[in-house]
Amino acid sequence: MSAAASLPTSRLAWVLDRLWHNRSARIGGGIIAIILLCAAFAPWIAPHDPMAIDTLRRLEPPSAEHWLGTDEVGRDLASRLIHGTRYFVLICLITTVIAGVIGTVLGLISGAGPLIADAVIMRFVDVLLAFPTILLVLAVIAILGPSLTTAMVAVGIGNIPGYARLVRSAALTIRREEYVEAARALGASELGIIFGTVLPNIVSPLVVYTSYAMPLAALAAAALSFLGLGAQPPAPEWGAMLVNARSFLFTAWWAVAAPGLAIFAAILGLNLLGNALRDVLDPRDA
């Protein structure tokens, strides 16, 4: 497992090949690729300034000029959706990095480090797990104040326990492997063993878990924006767009449908890709 799990070039090619022949991966990957392209080239793709207000043309239905119609203050919905991909990508990355890095480090130290560290870290994780995630997130926002940055930090913190427990579990198993014992017998330091030997061997479960946690984090951030606790106006963040348009459900469905479907498609894409990654990387199926 150790050789395969570290994803050398040959292994990466094998994974990509299997993903290419997986229908879920193609659909999910296609959606995510479109989102990434939109995020990268938003200023060139968007037909209008996403912040430009024209209240004389508010809530216009889709037309040749405004592909998805206009919102409650006359802004072009298509342009705002396209620019909103940047927030989506940013939220996915930041929340995953915060949760992944902190959770992984805590899990590694807990699983492969000294017993006292394991006891302290796991009690801390237990305390975090004792709170419902949404309550934990709201508590962080209450302390730091509502903003997109706070929402990302809060959601990231909320996801730390999951990573920590997963990595600890994997590290506990791996630390008893012979190649770890061999490294130790050869005089490798504990820190070197943790980050040089154990970490590369838990990449697969980490990737699989990330594919599961990332869409949930994106959804949580959108929900926070919907509650007014995330992205602040006039940011074209999809959750914020949804909450601003919700009172027009009966009179201007497109203003609600556009951000709603964007969130749906993006989460679907991440989930499909995540399922495919799990199918490909999960050792039980390999």
Partner: protein
Amino acid sequence: MLSRRGLVLSSAAIAAASATPAAASTKELRFRLVEDPEMLWSGQSVSLTVNTVVGTYLVERLVYQGTDGKPQPWLAESWTFSDDAKQITFRLRGGIKFHDGTDCDAAAVKFHFDSILDPARASPVRPIIAALESVDALDPLTVRFNFSRPFAPFMTIVAGGAYGINSPAALQRLGRQYGRRPVGTGPYRFVSWAPGSEIVLERNPTFRQLRADAVNKGAPYADRITLSVIPEEGVAFSALQTRELSAAELQTDTVERLARDRNFRVVVDENAKNLSFLEFAFRPPFDDPRMREAVSLALDRASIVRAAYAGYAVAVRGPMSPGIPGYDEAVAQQFGTGHDPARARAILAELGWTGTGRGPVSKDGREARFALRSYANPVADRALAVIQRNLADIGIQVAITTSDWGSFYPSLLRDGWDMNFMRWTSFDPFVLVQLFRHPGHRRALPRFDGLDEALAGIETTLDPDRRQVFVSEAQKLLLQNRAIVPLMTNHNVTVVQAGLQNYVPDAFNLVKPGDLRMANWA
């Protein structure tokens, strides 16, 4: 009299004849309540919902406010002022009975106001009539109000729902439970209250309508009124369509679709008395009136009105709602500002704020980035989107943070903000005193020459013509000093079933329920 944000504490709306079989024998109207009232005890709550329910159906006041802003006889048939203007003596009409059969006389009026003045009850409406010291029942039909100083807004204040007269006998019998089983003299009697669901009222068969502006002088047309608690706009919309409600006060977002339907009629209260405006913390650079003027000139009020209320509002230049008697349009036009972004940019340049045309302007190394706070509300969000864009167009970047009113309003007493988006509803120019007497309602207002004197005149001058001089002067000083940036007054909009007759809001946006009837009722 004074109520925060009508839209949050929005009122009851009217409903229609039920389509149920029972309606064949019972003439029933169903009304919408946006929220469940905390109680039904006038005089013990400042909630607009409470005072709208109680004041519309259950209790009557000494006077009501006519469309000209002047007090009109109701339970009181006449009143006189003492020479020093510190006493008002009301002459009550005789023969008025509470729903429990007891007399509504001078003793009952005294009992009601004594319960407000009683420190033990800590009535929240007490500070509004701070100048009232005591009430005397001179004889069964004569009651005298004694003030520590002349108090001009009193006649407007007592026309509000919080000052409707409750039955002393019921209050003494029920104690704290009175708020769940109110007894007044109004056109409807309390029957039941399922918290969070509905309040049921029945016709007061002995009711005599004493208001001159009412159509029906006798008992109400409808046998029963049910007030359904429907917070969700979409549910109210559906209930109107299915005729479970025959009328409901709706947000303007929802109105348009029904406005095109011949089965409904839109009633717009164009005498609305609210004002949305921007306030300043008056910390640098907004301690300079020219900086505040630049903000005012940058804002496209017509665009804000369209975005926020779909046009069911009017752009305002003066510091008071045009619906409040005393609003001086001439002062507003002379001293207010219009939309002139070029002039706004020129003022910023004169003040030393310069930029490249992209991003915020800057002065002495400081970029024009400021904090704007607001209460959380979809309508406010849309207004803020336009405001934010308008200010960005002149090089001022504002970061907007919104929170619920309970967090937002107290937060203004602390540092950390430059501007706030505020909305108040009032029925009298006294609102200027409450908001702008130094140091202002959020303790941020500097002292402007002559303003407090003009505000004192508004508070203590009973003669309408002399008082108007002070009202106009205060409006002028507020505008000259750019103390606030007036934005708009939105109109209350109610959608009613086409067959509902006599739905006419009065000066306080309350209907007379005794007048309401469906066209197909016998």
